[in-house]
């Protein structure tokens, strides 16, 4: 039973690698295709999540728990990047709505 469990875990990890790589390919398509900037940012966010999942899998496969720290750091960076991009889009939208330059928006960061 224990041996079957270990074997099953190995197969599952292989299957999960394939699923994540497929998902990554679809995400890259969305990143390249757009059509709006928001779509691309969503795709980047998704890529960070897939990276976390991949690192988690790799950590299970190798039994090396130190990779977990990489995954957590990637989660942090992904979140910050998404927030920064969202603010960028939001400011661009505000500037466009009032028909002014983005630079007069510098007081409320």
């Amino acid at each position: 039973m224990a041996e079957f469990g270990a074997q099953f875990l190995e197969w599952s990890i292989d299957i999960a690698y394939v699923a994540i790589i497929l998902s990554f390919a679809l995400t890259v398509f969305r990143l390249l295709r757009g059509p709006t900037l928001s779509d691309r940012v969503v795709a980047l966010d998704m890529m960070a999540l897939l990276g976390i999942a991949f690192i988690g899998l790799f950590s299970i496969a190798t039994g090396e728990a130190a990779y977990l720290d990489v995954a957590i750091a990637l989660a942090l960076i992904g979140f910050l990047a998404t927030v920064a991009f969202a603010r960028y889009i939001y400011r661009g939208a505000l500037a466009e709505r009032r028909g002014a330059d983005i630079s007069d928006e510098g007081d409320d960061s």
Binding site: A19, L22, S38, M46, I60, L68, A75
Partner: protein, 134 residues
């Protein structure tokens, strides 16, 4: 037995990751794509970390993995909310078959305030009355 359970969790997480990718590929507008990426994607990554926590069988690894899962679960809605609002205000088109756009006409001309909601000010500029909106 632990191996078996974490293998099942890995498979479920992989299925969610794949579904999120397919959703990102297939869904018709940015809000629906965000729905796929945020929910299914977070669940996929979180389940991988949960499987790692179970598989390592050490308290410190499990604690870090669960902290990572909590971080993902806390930040995903914030990021999605910010992106959704930014996308809406920047005019990302809705799917042509969308039937209700409850936000339409609710933002003032400046894009800063929602009218008709008890929350008068979405942002911190209550002290700075905005004369350009009128």
């Amino acid at each position: 037995m632990i191996d078996f359970i974490s293998a099942l969790i890995v498979l479920i997480g992989a299925a969610f990751a794949l579904i999120a990718g397919i959703g990102l590929f297939r869904l018709p507008d940015v809000y629906l794509r965000m729905h796929a990426a945020t929910k299914a994607g977070t669940l996929g990554a979180g389940l991988m970390l949960l499987a790692l926590a179970l598989d390592a069988q050490q308290l410190e690894v499990a604690a870090r993995a669960i902290a990572g899962i909590l971080f993902l679960l806390f930040t995903a809605p914030i990021a999605a909310h910010l992106l959704g609002r930014a996308g809406y205000l920047s005019g990302s088109p809705l799917w042509t078959k969308t039937r209700f756009d409850e936000l339409s006409e609710k933002y003032d001309a400046d894009g800063r305030k929602l009218t008709g909601t008890p929350v008068e000010d979405l942002r911190r500029d209550a002290t700075k009355p905005d004369d350009r909106a009128t």
